[in-house]
Symmetry: C2
Subunit: 281 residues, 2 copies
Amino acid sequence: MTYSFLMIGQSNMAGRGFLTEIPPIYDEKIKMLRNGRWQMMSEPMNYDRFTSGISLAASFASSWRLLHNQKDDIALIPCADGGTSLDDWSVEGPLFQNAVQQAKAAQKISTLSGILWHQGESDSNGQKHGLYREKLALIIKTLREELDAPDIPLIIGGLGDFLQNGMYGQYFNEHHEVNAALMQFAKDQQHCYFVSAKGLTANPDNIHFNAVSQRKFGVRYFKAFQEKNHILEALPDEDQIIETIHQKPLTKNEKHELLQVQWAMGTISADEFQAQVAKLS
Amino acid sequence: MTYSFLMIGQSNMAGRGFLTEIPPIYDEKIKMLRNGRWQMMSEPMNYDRFTSGISLAASFASSWRLLHNQKDDIALIPCADGGTSLDDWSVEGPLFQNAVQQAKAAQKISTLSGILWHQGESDSNGQKHGLYREKLALIIKTLREELDAPDIPLIIGGLGDFLQNGMYGQYFNEHHEVNAALMQFAKDQQHCYFVSAKGLTANPDNIHFNAVSQRKFGVRYFKAFQEKNHILEALPDEDQIIETIHQKPLTKNEKHELLQVQWAMGTISADEFQAQVAKLS
């Protein structure tokens, strides 16, 4: 059985955490959609731009595996796209249509079990927040109808506290209002849970959650999913859960997959590859 | 005006050339499809796997720009998927369906002008070559019908001479037969042109064309497109064309885009970014 989750929103859902800053996550029971089929998850998962990196989806999936279901597979459907506003996500537009198509492709081979949303930076100026809830409501309503998924959990995260600190800070001068709109939206809607970004920190650009923060955010998203409730504070055990995830021993298949990658990338020779594979058997 | 090209096949169409081995190609008039919208092209373009790298598509597009059309945009629709056989590409399957959906999304915003195919390694054993032409014919016929594109050029490339030299050489022991089938297919079909891989070389894995070879292959694919003819030998001027492509001066927009990436990746500071942007103006 495979349980799938749709990733939609803008760059902080796609993920911009630096790959070099944290240990990787490898788990043969975490998949991602590629060209209509599942592949074993690797990061960056949501490759919308050259700058794509660590997102919250990997630690969300790992938490699900660790704390919720050890038997089945979990799979991500990456459809987030950097820099996009709610208007870009309008239900007639290409982003929405693409997300519906990808999710429908996934539904043929899995049970769609949730929607992960993070967006709002691009609506954080010019009084756009006033219409945020109304616009988002239409997007979500239409999405649920298209996917015949009226009651799967929708998890939506808050915006980073750091947004006004950076070079482009003036573009985010209403991010508190967008955050309030997201929270209110989650309170008003059924099957929708808000996740706070409190205490999470940024890359040097002060726009994107850094890798460690994305890992924490993913754990919080999972807790909201598991508890069917809003997560309004940092979790007391989030660091510990991440530590456990990062220390998960690799299975034989995962080790083999990693050796394949190293050999394909030319970082180990054919002889070394064969010697290492022999050791696995 | 935007002229688009569909990329389908297996890993050597997706591209596995190492990014570090050759200069990058940046051209604001070369786009790629991401989530139903155009983005400025960057490599890896067809991100089917973590190992994705340089493909033939970038130098194909650059050749088109250099030698065919300086005025308009060219765009790539990346749908190739590593390790896939012709059976994986059957018209009822997810790869084919995904390619049709992506190409249809692109047709809303461009003129679909060609199909770039490279596949066959996964059919190079077990006598699969005997049905290669028949299976490919059905895929192409159905694709042309679905996309209402009966006469756009289909460019298909040959397999690498090196395939039997590597650790997995025994899996490719009928690659000459597949190559012959590809060539015969191109001769039999209308609007289909074969491109030889003669002289092209591989990554250390002896499976994937290396970065320099992918650049050459892309130029050959373009020549087949331009001349509406088979390319059966290395081109006398392919090195020179690649040199010209790599030395193309960057426009102001391209320089700005590159600075954005460097800043987002944390390789230059906000101050340095602003100083460099100021110099551009």
